[in-house]
Amino acid sequence: MTTRRTGTGESAAGGRPVSAPAGQGSTATEAVPLPGEPSSAPQAVPSGRARRERRRPPNWLLRLLTGVLILVLWDLGARMLESPFIARPLGVAQAVPEVFASERFWQDAWATIGSVVYGVLIGAAAGLVLGLAMGRIKLVRWFFTSYVSALYTLPMVAVVPLMTIWLGYTPETRLVAVALSAFLPIVVTTADGSRAIPKEYLDVARTFRARVHNIWFGIALRNAIPYLIAGLQLAIARALVTAVAVEFLAGVPGLGYSILQQTRSFQQNEAFVGVIVLTLFVVAARALLTVARRRFLPWYGR
């Protein structure tokens, strides 16, 4: 399906399959009505995509332009402040080859990103179990709900110093903190998803005499998957914040720690490369989840 935006004359293309033969689309382009002019001849209307391209630049171009605009404003702002300690886009870009060539950088990057990946996997697995139990068993829900929501609102950063006392200034502290911060959003979303099973599904299951495990794993879990994906989107962002915070506070080696060190030794350009790599990681991970949802849950909408 095309995503239709309400635009001028757009409605005239309604119902026309986008997968119209290319030749048909291009010949029809000549007969495109003026914006706002409703077409009375449906055969003269090209596919939605062809019309949009004519009228407006594509989305990715607009996004790119926005990015360029931000960079320009950044550069102008830095120039106006005239401080040598403010990183500027060109300086950051120039630092990239050097930073990427260093082995240390990739070690740090993997230390941080790896801890996020493993931490989220551990936290999600545990969160899924507790979430499903909370969603399906009243007693478990009563018992845990207030604790889970209390912990969910607690910034994990506040507990990190305590965790260093228990687990030391080690990568394990980071892993535990990351897993814990990923665990909570997964618990909350999975509990909701496995509880909010549409009554229709339960009627069908009961009519065919489904047993408890059929409902848990055949319906509740399946119904919770879109919620789980939403939970993972939250979890990844929270997990990265926690990983970097642990590195800052406990001096655990990783990209966050390097960023701190480089900033303190006036290597802002290098530090910025690290920031950008972390950002790209989160963006890529979330995009991957969105792709997975569209691919595997097509009925869930966009």
């Binding site: 009627d203 065919f208 005499r209 059929n214 319906i219 849950l297 009925w299």
Partner: protein, 277 residues
């Protein structure tokens, strides 16, 4: 208030001749309450094998609740339901339901949705592989095995819902307003297809609908629920032989029975309007 008639205005019938196969479903003295509200009470109803009984009544009269209590999804507060002589205490083997909302699982394709009941009943794989395509074919969904519900029209989704209910080869089929969420033209097509399927393997069927025409077209008998709490106001023997076709809709008997049921239900609607006014 319960009486059985052979036709509109006809005198109450005497004892019906004993059926050859015996009753499948026996509802006796059934009542359901929600708190202080009694939905229905004192319902006595017997459904024979190979018989279609339609249930009509105004909205909120509890026709769906009655159907659900036969399916064991809703508990009765009084009275009992037995199927083949065994009291219903929960969903019973041999009883299938087709839902108004189709109730297909969006994450399963047509094949797996249709196979759902058989899988839960732990039917052997070979049996599932044999039976499922047969019923998919029977409801006219051949070629759509791999489609997902969101890719199908409402009518096609309900075809899948029907195939799922039939695939477990039930002795009793419960239809809960199965076609009311479907556009009028498709509904008519499905009504006749259901009749055609039923004619090839007739079983006991309980058909809840709010459409009087549908009730008369489908039913061998039409049960009219009325009143608050509702009770069986009248049971009408439709007396139109199977196979029923589009010509049935034009027949004098069909018109006559439909008009009679209309009258029964309109009395209530008019009375309700007056009460409000």
């Amino acid at each position: 208030m319960t009486r059985s008639t052979t036709g509109p205005g006809a005198a109450p019938e005497g004892a019906a001749p004993p059926p050859a196969t015996g009753p499948r479903v026996v509802v006796s003295g059934a009542g359901v309450r929600y708190g202080d509200l009694t939905v229905f009470d004192g319902i006595d109803l017997t459904i024979q094998d190979r018989e279609i009984v339609s249930i009509v009544g105004p909205s909120g009269c509890g026709k769906t609740t009655l159907l659900r209590s036969v399916d064991g999804l809703t508990r009765l507060n009084s009275g009992s339901v037995t199927i083949d002589g065994r009291p219903v205490e929960g969903p019973t083997p041999g009883v299938s339901m087709v839902f108004q909302h189709f109730g297909l699982f969006p994450w399963k394709n047509v094949y797996n949705n249709v196979a759902y009941g058989l899988k839960l009943a732990k039917a052997p794989k070979e049996r599932i592989a044999e039976v499922v395509p047969e019923y998919i074919d029977m409801v006219g969904l051949a070629g759509f095995e791999k489609s997902y519900p969101h890719q199908l029209s409402g009518g096609m989704q309900q075809r899948a819902g029907l195939a799922r209910a039939l695939a477990v080869e039930p002795q009793v089929l419960l239809m809960d307003e199965p076609f009311s969420a479907i556009d009028a033209q498709t509904r008519e097509v499905l009504q006749f297809e259901l009749l055609r399927i039923w004619e090839t393997r007739p079983i006991a069927m309980m058909f809840v609908t709010h459409s009087i025409e549908e009730a008369v077209l489908m039913g061998d008998r039409v049960v009219v629920l009325k009143g608050r709490p509702s009770h069986i106001h009248e049971v009408i023997d439709v007396g139109i032989p199977h196979p029923r076709t589009r010509a049935t809709l034009k027949s004098a008997r069909f018109q006559e029975v439909t008009a009679h049921v209309w009258d029964l239900l309109m009395q209530d609607v008019i009375a309700a309007e007056r009460e409000v006014g």
